[in-house]
Amino acid sequence: MLILECPYCGVKGEETEFHGGGEAHLKRFGPGSSEEDFEGYLFHRENPKGVHLERWRHVNGCGKWFHVARDTATLEVFGSYSAQVTEPPQEIKDAISAKRPGWSWREFA
């Protein structure tokens, strides 16, 4: 079972109170972008065994979207953070580094 903490209302709840929203920090490529960029935006996703950054929504709670850093293999959660950022904040990166030294995910490490 996955226990997540919503950074907006502070509730620590189990997974079924939330809804997964897929990969975090996607950059949108829309009209005018190259075929490759548009294809990547639509279809290409990370599928790591280990550190992963995701979007979640507190759907049966305050309703807010937020980000979670977790391990896909162990379900260990490194932390949750605001939806209003384009990369994980330093304290989240530090929390991951403390448990998974040398980690990297897309352009972040």
């Binding site: 209302c9 502070g10 709840g13 189990e14 109170e17 049966n60 709670g61 305050c62 309703g63 807010k64």
Partner: protein, 189 residues
């Protein structure tokens, strides 16, 4: 004027806890900047209670304010006063970036009372209902089985549950099953 009825007309069930549909309640959703003085004054003026903090609820009688999210409050007044309360708050919030909506008739409200009330709710919601985990003055939005629900305490061993009116019968049936005679678990004993 037509007579307004609550979803289950006060249905009642007594098992290891007593489940009662609490009837019509005035409920108003207010969205806006909760740090804004105009918003605070508008809601506290109508409800007559202090502004709640994060995940808190303040009530006096049928009036109260519940913190629903960082930009949402639930203001409670007697059912017959809801429309007037909306007008009063809208007038106080003229020019402010805020939303005030009477949602009274979109809701169903239940009271769950008795020494096993914590346990009945604990069977249905992924929430710690131990006395340490949940107490008076707190509000918790979560799910009850398959539908969203919010719950707070109205007294010792007394809980109030709010859900959408469209699922009132479903929630009442859930509560009845969880409160069935002889179904004590003793988790919070």
């Amino acid at each position: 004027m037509s007579e307004t009825l609550s979803a289950l007309k006060g249905a009642r069930f007594a098992g290891i806890a007593v489940v009662t549909e609490a009837g019509l309640r005035g409920m108003i959703t207010v969205r806006g900047d909760l740090a804004d003085t105009d918003v605070k004054n508008a809601v506290t003026g109508v409800a007559g209670v202090d502004m709640p903090g994060q995940r808190e609820i303040n009530t006096v009688g049928e009036r109260g304010i519940a913190w629903m999210s960082p930009d949402e409050l639930l203001v409670m007044v007697p059912h017959g006063e809801a429309e007037q309360a909306v007008e009063t708050m809208n007038a106080a919030l003229t020019g402010a970036h805020a939303l005030v909506v009477n949602v009274s008739d979109a809701r169903a409200v239940f009271d769950v009372t008795g020494p096993h009330a914590r346990e009945v709710l604990g069977k249905l919601m992924p929430v710690d209902f131990s006395a340490v985990g949940f107490g008076p003055g707190m509000i918790r939005r979560s799910r009850m089985a398959q539908v969203p629900a919010a719950v707070w305490m109205t007294g010792e061993d007394a809980f109030r549950v709010v859900c959408f009116r469209s699922v009132a019968q479903y929630v009442f049936d859930l509560l009845k099953a969880a409160a069935a005679e002889g179904s004590e678990v003793g988790l919070y004993a």
